[in-house]
């Protein structure tokens, strides 16, 4: 059983499991599936700085911080015990293309040439992690949600604003991956 779970899970198994998080959180206590709001709660808890956006009772939303804490632990469990230690089967054309930029799949979830402490000291690593992270935090809050809150939760509720947001996520991603990222990776 464990051996079977240690294999990569196909999309038609893992996708529905992700979808089940929506009713699970609703049934556990009327919670709306969403993760990026945890970033806001962290701001509200640590540095509200009298900004109206961060002056609310974040303690009432504590569940969200427990949830993301759980994700952290789950990530550790899966990476330590539920793994077959094989690299992810990525499309070869793409891998060849990326190798031009000295990016290789080194049996990891991220390319270590960029996502490592040494990588942080390179220009491209710094831009991708620091600027990229900033855009993620800024954009999700501006949009009012991220992939989980808008794409999965919002679309499950058939919300038009979430559909608009999801389309914009994809447009932004296509622009970055195809038109801008190649230049950043050259740095």
């Amino acid at each position: 059983m464990l051996e079977l779970l240690q294999q990569p899970w196909p999309w038609y198994f893992s996708g529905p499991l992700i979808g089940v998080m929506v009713p699970l959180l609703l049934v556990l206590g009327n919670k709306t599936f969403g993760i990026s709001s945890s970033l806001r709660h962290i701001c509200a808890a640590c540095l509200p700085a009298k900004l109206p956006f961060f002056n609310y009772n974040w303690k009432a939303e504590k569940w969200n911080l427990f949830f993301v804490g759980g994700i952290f632990v789950g990530g550790w469990i899966a990476a330590t015990y539920i793994t077959n230690n094989q690299p992810i089967a990525i499309n070869h054309t793409l891998l060849n293309k990326l190798s031009i930029y000295r990016i290789n799949e080194d049996n990891n979830l991220v390319p270590t040439a960029i996502f490592s402490w040494q990588g942080l000291l390179t220009i491209r690593g710094f831009i991708i992690m620091v600027v990229g992270g900033f855009l993620v935090g800024f954009g999700t809050r501006y949009a009012g949600g991220c992939t989980s809150g808008h794409a999965i939760n919002g679309l499950s509720h058939l919300q038009l604003p979430s559909l608009i947001a999801t389309i914009c996520f994809m447009i932004g991603g296509f622009i970055m991956a195809n038109l801008i990222l190649p230049f950043i990776l050259q740095l």
Partner: protein, 173 residues
Amino acid sequence: MITQKKSLLKAEEKNTDFEVRSLDTICTNDSHLQHPWWYNIKYAFAGIIFGIILIKAEVISWFRIQEMFHLKSFHMFGVIGSAVITGCISVLIIKKLKIKTIHGEPIFFIQKKFNKGQIFGGLIFGLGWAMTGACPGPLYALLGSGISVIVVVLFSAIAGTWVYGAIRSKLPH
């Protein structure tokens, strides 16, 4: 009843919030049962399960995200698509059968309101998503999986959220 209405009105006045979620859930939570903190532990367990799924679904892989945005694989579209369909069917079932929470409360759904932030913010997040290869959920899972440098990305994301909070009144919504 009147005091409840008053507090609702007060919350509305204070509600400079375009994302209905947090502030409104707080005011709808007024009637909510008050639970001790350890009731939240069940959400930590839900999080653990979700974290495991994220890793095993490979959606936290930077390479998978690049594949998706280069249209080189169906994997990500399959995961997100089947997740949405499953979520959709479950929400329909909850509504049809009027399923209650484990504490016996009726489940309520909050309508999101449209504002331009979903367009501008969505585009900005999309740019960041393709760079870091991670949305906020995967950031926590990646950090847990032992890639310590992700703490830099997470910290930048918190900084981005904070800056948004600081300048949001000047942004078009």
